[in-house]
């Protein structure tokens, strides 16, 4: 048990180190943006009619702490970030944590649902396809999953919207119906969310399914050819029982391990799909922050949060694997 705690602790430290490195990268990028928050704020004030001078910028810079050295500001940012405090947005002048809040959790929930959907489809289909010798089925599955990779998700989103406009006469955009948008959380609001969220979940899950299908199939066809499967078959185990009890359990490890990267891939698609479907979640906010207003504080916070969720998922899958897989468990508890 002690070894297990030590294992979890090591993993946690590694995850934290990764996050610190990522925060350094993100923070450096934010710093590289031409112009800083003080200039941007005062430029905005300038458009409102009040004239500003170089001295005003300097005062504002001091107020925001932008005259401190790089390392100090980074340390302040990272400490804040781990407490969920990202400071104020450069342009919108609101607390970022408040601005993102539910939006981030909503996006995360959508992404995790797509991930679940992808594996709910990929695991049975992948196992079946690896076990069957039907060349036609295998080739068409291969083709479909490559098609899933090649078709950019935003195109799929566009096509579905086109179809919905033609056949249903309404565009499937947004996450809530207008009457629920600002309403407090109720059961009815949740139901309304579900009736809108299936589309982004489906679109985000589409290429994730393609990838997952490839992984599951490749792993299973590697395992199925091995001797222990033949031995089990010789002992009289057959059919579904054979597949699930022997090769599937071996293939489980790498699949659990790849979950983090699948989430990464879904996050990649998120902003663009969010833009097309006019979702008001973190992805769309990111585009807003970057394209429209160059809001580096907000952009940095979103990228950091996305990465943090991936790192957390990686940590959880590592621990889960140690619990599930006796080989990993034994190697920890030597």
């Amino acid at each position: 048990m002690l070894q297990f705690v030590r294992f979890v602790a090591t993993r946690a430290v590694m995850a934290l180190t990764t996050l610190v490195i990522v925060s350094l990268v993100v923070f450096t990028l934010m710093e590289l943006v031409p112009g800083d928050c003080a200039e941007r704020y005062l430029a905005f004030k300038n458009t409102q009619g009040s004239g500003i001078s170089q001295a005003d910028i300097e005062i504002e810079r001091q107020r925001l702490g932008l005259d401190r050295p790089f390392i100090e500001r980074w340390a302040k940012w990272i400490v804040g970030a781990f407490q969920g405090d990202f400071g104020d947005s450069c342009i919108l002048r609101v607390d970022i944590a408040q601005l993102l809040g539910t939006k981030f959790w909503l996006s995360l929930a959508i992404c995790l649902s797509s991930l679940t959907l992808a594996y709910a489809i990929a695991i049975p289909v992948g196992i079946y396809s690896a076990a069957s010798n039907n060349a036609w089925l295998n080739n068409s599955l291969k083709f479909i999953s490559y098609f899933g990779l090649a078709m950019p998700n935003f195109l799929l989103a566009l096509m579905i919207m086109l179809a919905s406009t033609i056949w249903f006469g309404e565009t499937l955009t947004g996450l809530f119906s207008p009457e629920y948008r600002d309403a407090p959380w109720t059961w009815a609001k949740f139901r309304d969310l579900l009736s809108h969220a299936w589309l982004p979940i489906f679109i985000l899950g589409w290429s994730a399914t393609a990838f997952a299908l490839q992984t599951v199939r490749a792993l299973m066809s590697d395992e199925i050819g091995k001797l222990y499967v033949t031995a089990a078959a010789a002992r009289g185990v057959s059919g579904r029982r054979l597949l699930w009890r022997y090769p599937a359990r071996h293939a489980l490890g790498p699949i659990v391990n790849s979950l983090g990267f699948d989430l990464n891939r879904i996050f990649n698609e998120l902003p663009i799909v969010a833009l097309i479907l006019v979702l008001t979640d973190a992805g769309a906010l990111l585009i807003e922050a970057l394209a429209r207003s160059n809001d580096q504080q907000l952009a940095g916070a979103i990228i950091f949060l996305l990465t943090a969720s991936i790192v957390t998922l990686n940590f959880l899958t590592d621990v889960l694997l140690a619990v599930l897989d006796p080989r990993v468990r034994k190697s920890i508890m030597r």
Partner: protein, 399 residues
């Protein structure tokens, strides 16, 4: 093959007839095939295995077709892809398919019908384009038209096809009257260029970082691995967007193009670097490396002359596989307006205008380029997959 069985012997036991000659040739053919197999170079083996995969071969052919049409895009496309080649009289025009027959009879030379633009009280004073079925514009080959520079430096004005006294738009036109067919061909070329530059930058970075980590091992490897893994966890497209948004807005189209390719390369290296490191880690403990080191070869010599050639084929496969992701990232970036911009033709730029319901319902030909891009990306994926199988010496089933 000195220990090959004597072709005479097995036959002596069975027959003394004239069949001996035939048996000998069979054996010799087999032996030659075996000898060819054992003496073949790595690339010959890979090619032999690659040829046996039908899907990969078809994909390879399509890919070659795409690359050639991208290379010769200025010649193959009838008009200039930028605003200079626009047809102001045929904006948002439907595709014109050359035909052989119409109500006035048939002709051997394909033709398209003329167009009439009218505006009257019936059309609510909007310009309406009508097909005039009585005029014919015949298709001609090797016509002179808009001037261009092939490969960027060979000037020319010859185009593969065109029609007399009018313009032909195979895939229709967009809202500015630019020919979508010409733009598609140029966009393929743009994607190939962006992908190539991005992959090359990523490759050089991966080679240096992965090479150092894999060759020296120890704590250097540990630190570099940690950084690589950290960069790998950051979702690439949001990061692309962040970096691309910081691009100074006053850049010209060409500078923007190089900037975007550079970003793609600078963010795309970690996966490749990991692969390079793994290959190096397994190879550097082989005897031939030890032999070279004992003979006094320097580290850089060992890496360049002994280690790199040992996994060139794997690296090429990795490059082919990572290519489509570069292309897709560029498309996505341009689509949301952070990547390439007019006048550069790229799929993302072309689709930017296609998001409104108006365009989707009334001008579906905006989506024709998509088909070509799906073919391009899929053929890259299939070729990469086929190459990976062919380069794997353990994939016995394909031998």
């Amino acid at each position: 093959m000195t220990d090959a069985p004597d072709p005479m012997k097995p036959n002596l036991a069975q027959t003394t007839g004239p069949a001996v000659d035939i048996v000998e040739t069979e054996s010799a053919v087999e032996r030659r095939a075996k000898e060819a197999y054992f003496t073949a170079s790595q690339s010959q083996l890979i090619w032999a295995r690659f040829k046996k995969q039908r899907a990969a071969m078809v994909a390879g052919f399509l890919l070659l077709l795409m690359v050639v049409s991208g290379l010769f895009a200025p010649f193959l496309s009838p008009y200039d892809p930028t605003i200079a080649g626009r047809n102001a009289d045929y904006t948002n025009g439907a595709p014109q398919i050359p035909q052989f027959c119409d109500k006035n009879g048939c002709s051997l030379r394909p033709f398209i019908h003329g167009l009439e633009r009218t505006r009257s009280i019936e059309t609510n004073f909007r310009w309406v384009t009508e097909v005039d079925e009585d005029t014919r514009h015949y298709l001609r080959f090797f016509v002179t038209g808009d001037s261009y520079k092939l490969f960027g430096f060979i000037p020319g004005n010859l185009h593969l096809f065109g029609v007399d006294d009018a313009k032909i738009h195979l895939f229709g036109t967009d809202e500015d009257g630019q020919d979508i067919f010409s733009r598609t061909l140029h966009a393929i070329w743009t994607s190939l260029q962006v992908g190539t530059i991005g992959v090359l930058i990523a490759f050089v970075l991966a080679l240096v970082i992965g090479g150092v980590a894999g060759y020296y091992g120890g704590w250097i490897d540990g630190v570099l691995q940690m950084i690589t893994d950290a960069v790998r966890t950051v979702p690439a497209i949001p990061l692309f967007m962040a970096v691309a948004a910081f691009m100074p807005p006053e850049l010209t189209a060409e500078q923007r193009f190089f900037y975007i390719s550079m970003i793609l390369g600078l963010i795309g290296w970690p996966t490749l670097a990991r692969r390079v490191r793994t290959h190096l880690l397994t190879e550097r403990n082989q005897e031939y490396v030890l032999a070279a080191q004992l003979s006094g070869a320097s580290s850089s010599h060992v890496i360049r002359r002994h280690l790199l050639p040992s996994f060139t084929s794997y690296i090429i496969v990795d490059l082919v596989i990572s290519f489509p992701y570069m292309v897709l990232s560029e498309t996505a970036l341009s689509f949301i307006g952070l990547g390439l911009k007019d006048p550069v033709s790229s799929l993302g730029v072309m689709l930017q205008k296609a998001t409104s319901a108006d365009v989707m319902l009334n001008y579906p030909w905006y989506f024709i380029p998509v088909i070509f891009f799906i073919i391009l990306v899929m053929s890259f994926v299939f070729v990469g997959d086929g190459l990976r199988d062919a380069a794997d010496p353990y994939s016995d089933k394909n031998k």
